[in-house]
């Protein structure tokens, strides 16, 4: 089955590449559009505020790991003896 999937993947990639080769043959006219999202420069104060934000997020991650350990601790470590042989 995996081989079949692989074959299909290869086929699909070929199809994709084919169409992209066609794309790249199109004449290139330099025309940078105005479409880009221009993210503004932030002021020093805004920057600092958001840096604090990153710190809060790191604390949040620590909370996540703390909860992880809580759950891990909440049960007996080894229950293998419960599995009947």
């Amino acid at each position: 089955m995996e081989i079949i999937i692989k074959k299909r993947v290869v086929k699909a990639i070929h199809e994709g590449l084919l169409s992209l080769t066609m794309l790249s043959l199109t004449p290139a006219i330099a025309a940078a559009s105005e479409a880009n999202l221009k993210i503004p420069n932030l002021s020093q104060g805004q920057n600092n505020l958001l840096l604090y934000g990153i710190m809060v997020c790191i604390l949040g991650m620590l909370f996540g790991f703390y909860q992880f350990m809580q759950v891990k601790k909440s049960g007996p470590i080894n229950l293998c003896w419960m599995w009947p042989t």
């Binding site: 993947v9 699909a12 169409s19 199109t26 330099a30 221009k38 993210i39 996540g64 759950v71």
Partner: protein, 734 residues
């Protein structure tokens, strides 16, 4: 119990690694498009293109790694919860599952925000916008793939093991049924990975939608202030969620700490409401502090803090109201669920299915109305002065509603992740055969210092599973809602891009008088219905193979071992993986090709009218998707809990009534956990990737050939649509 949990984790690992490989292939497709647009059409220097691609990879890795974390957390929590049930302390049981959910919810939101803040603060300005888009496309790709494949996987296994209950009259989670372990793996691979990857993506994409709208539509002098405000709010929402969690923990301890029996839904409901109220308070306070009088921002912005807070609060309130509405249709205590049970008593499976469809349809009506009301209030509020600082203020307001809904993101994900833990805990308990061990009571008493109560334990686990079902159901419409509301904002960013590039007034082309608008609406509806069919077909064929395999191999003789067979279980997992990946691959390539096809076919070759085609296609999949997803999710939830009522409240297992409800539940399985939930990332992926595709299509150097290339992609898409049924049929008997 730990043993069983280990097997489940191992099979999950194998599955996730295979998924990772497939993600690499999908990335190749997207990566080529991104490189083509930025490198070739936009003439971004190579280093810039590489940076954008790097952010796309980070996005995919983000979705993938939070999914991994979610699975690890769940597989730890499930065995702990199963063991805790023996202790006759129901609150402890509840807390383990909720701790696990909170851990996942908070962690993923933090990871998300850190990445977005890094882009906002440290990436060079000319690349930051593109990096945001690249990052969001990556996340969305990862989440869609994980959601679709996981959804198919879990339901193949679930249906496969459920149908054995009817075929052989065995009970739920009977270890002799090789489908049970696969079902547990599926609960993790689908129901746990789903909300984690999906939540991660939803959070990111809605953020990017707002960022791009602010940048494109707001007066340039104010964009920095509004961006800072948005991000500070998001950071503070982490603090409100964690605080609410602890407040709720203390309250539950006081209310239920000493009780032997209580309704497991209550602490979860109160958590949602406490978070919602606290978030609203914080929204007003922070907006006043950052934007209100005395904050030093330009005067025209100062009077808007109230409007902005009201709009966001619509969303936050929505995130608490939508679960209440959903419960009307899916809670075990609801009239609709009672109606389904009643209908099946005399009418069997057929009336059960009809009655469930009724619940789904009614829920789509009411939840649709709720969205209408919330968005109308937001629109009304946006009329008070927002137009002074931006164009199309009501669209911005819609985006803020989605933002408000996600304000309590960590808690929404926590209650959603609660379900898979409790579901697994129940299965693990049964699989461990703990009661059959001689002298187990004394042994537990000696080692852990308490006397186990097996009857109570089973009761707790079952009741807890019911609560898990309900809350799993309630989180779905919230996530789907944010997809739709957020997509609206994203679509309008696209419209603004079109306006800037083509220099047309959007009002002139985006009208119902333009035939292309109508064409787009039709195309969107078609794709949503195909998607539903294709994902369900993958489940149907996969389940067929599973049932066939299990029927051949199940050992029910009296002398046969009562234990689960590891080898056979792994074989079932393999079947599920195979069909999940095959189905996902067909679906994903088709969605990807449709996006490129429709956007390229909308290229403005002779006049600008065709542009409306793709825009209305996006609107259409969002609207059709919302209703289809809500309908399917709630109908499925209703069938599921109807079965639960028969098993737990009526104690009528093994009767014709029970069989009728099992049939309904198997119909509902792909409804609620495959098709409906995958629509959310699909809508967002199409919208985000569509933004990129449309930019390619309208760029001057490409637009003239675009329709031809679009035609080729349409053929590829149609081929994969064809394959998603004709290549996935049930094989004929040899």
């Amino acid at each position: 119990m730990l043993d069983v949990a280990d097997i489940i984790y191992e099979t999950c690992k194998t599955y996730l690694i295979q998924q990772g490989k497939l993600l690499c292939i999908l990335f190749a497709f997207i990566g080529i498009c991104i490189a083509f647009y930025f490198g070739f059409l936009q003439k971004t220097p190579l280093s810039g293109v590489l940076l954008i691609l790097a952010w796309t990879v980070i996005g995919i890795l983000g979705s993938y790694s939070v999914a991994w974390y979610g699975i690890r957390m769940n597989t730890l929590a499930n065995s702990r919860a199963a063991f805790a049930s023996l202790e006759t302390k129901p609150l402890k049981l509840l807390n383990i599952a909720l701790d696990a959910g909170m851990s996942i919810g908070v962690l993923l939101v933090c990871v998300e925000l850190i990445m977005m803040l890094i882009i906002l603060l440290f990436v060079p300005r000319e690349l930051a916008g593109a990096s945001f888009i690249g990052f969001a496309v990556g996340e969305s790709l990862g989440a869609s793939a994980l959601r679709i494949a996981g959804g198919i996987f879990t339901k193949i296994a679930d249906i496969g093991s459920d149908l054995m209950k009817i075929a052989f009259g065995i009970k739920e989670d009977d270890p002799r049924n090789p489908g049970v372990i696969a079902d547990c793996t599926g609960d993790n691979a689908g129901d746990s990975v789903g909300p984690t990857a999906d939540g991660f993506e939803t959070y990111g994409v809605t953020g990017v939608a707002l960022v791009s709208f602010i940048v494109l539509a707001v007066q340039p002098a104010l964009t920095g202030i509004l961006l800072t405000w948005i991000f500070v709010m998001r950071v503070l929402m982490i603090i409100t969620s964690v605080s609410s969690f602890y407040i709720n923990r203390a309250l539950s301890q006081a209310r239920f700490g000493s009780k032997k029996d209580f309704d497991f839904e209550q602490p979860l409901t109160s958590l949602v409401w406490i978070t919602s109220i606290l978030s609203i308070v914080v929204t007003f306070a922070v907006s006043y502090y950052l934007l209100g009088p005395g904050s030093g921002v330009p005067v025209q912005l100062q009077k808007l803090w109230l409007v902005l807070s009201v709009v966001i609060s619509c969303g936050t309130l929505g995130a608490a109201l939508i679960p209440e509405f959903t419960k009307i249709f899916t809670s075990p205590n609801s009239r609709h669920v009672a109606e389904v049970v009643k209908a099946s008593r005399e009418g069997g499976p057929s009336l059960n299915i009809l009655s469930g469809l009724v619940a789904g349809n009614f829920s789509a009506f009411w939840i649709g109305m709720l969205f209408l009301a919330l968005m109308f209030v937001a629109y009304y509020a946006s009329g008070y002065g927002l137009s002074e600082i931006m164009i199309y203020p009501s669209i911005f307001a819609f985006g803020l509603v989605a933002f408000g809904m996600l304000g309590m993101g960590p808690v929404t994900i926590a209650v959603d992740s609660y379900g898979p833990v409790t579901d697994n805990a129940q299965s693990i308990y049964e699989l461990s055969l703990i009661e059959a061990i001689p002298n187990v009571e004394k042994q537990i008493q000696k080692e852990f210092g308490f006397k186990p109560d097996f009857d109570k334990a089973k009761h707790y686990l079952e009741a807890n599973d019911g609560a898990g079902n309900t809350f799993k159901a309630t989180a779905k419409p919230v996530l789907i809602g944010t997809a739709v509301v957020g997509a609206t904002t994203m679509i309008f960013s696209l419209i603004l891009v079109i306006k800037n590039v083509l220099g047309v007034q959007p009002e002139q082309i985006l009208t119902l008088l333009n035939p292309y608008t109508i064409f787009g609406l039709l195309a969107g509806g078609s794709v949503i219905y195909w998607f539903t069919g294709a994902s369900t077909q993958a489940v149907t064929t996969g389940a067929y193979r599973t049932v066939e395999y299990i029927k051949k191999h199940i050992q029910l003789d009296e002398n046969a071992s009562q234990k689960a067979s590891i080898e056979q279980s792994k074989e079932v997992v393999k079947i599920c993986t195979q069909y999940a990946q095959q189905g996902m691959f067909n679906i994903f390539i088709a969605i990807f090709s449709f996006t490129l096809a429709f956007s390229f076919l909308s290229a403005p070759v002779n006049g600008n009218e065709p542009v409306a085609f793709f825009v209305s296609y996006l609107i259409s999949i969002a609207v059709f998707g919302l209703f289809q997803a809500v309908f399917m999710a709630n109908a499925g939830g209703c069938w599921d809990n109807a079965k639960k009522v028969v098993e737990v409240d009526l104690q009528e297992k093994g009767t014709p009534l029970h069989e009728a409800t099992i049939v309904g539940d198997t119909v509902g399985d792909p409804f609620k956990d495959t098709s409906s939930v995958a629509l959310n990332p699909i809508i967002k992926f199409t919208t985000l990737f569509g933004l990129l595709a449309m930019e390619i299509a309208i760029s001057e150097s490409f637009r003239n050939v675009a329709p031809y290339v679009g035609g080729i992609f349409l053929v590829i898409a149609l081929f994969f649509v064809w394959r998603s049924f004709y290549g996935m049929r049930i094989p004929a008997k040899e």
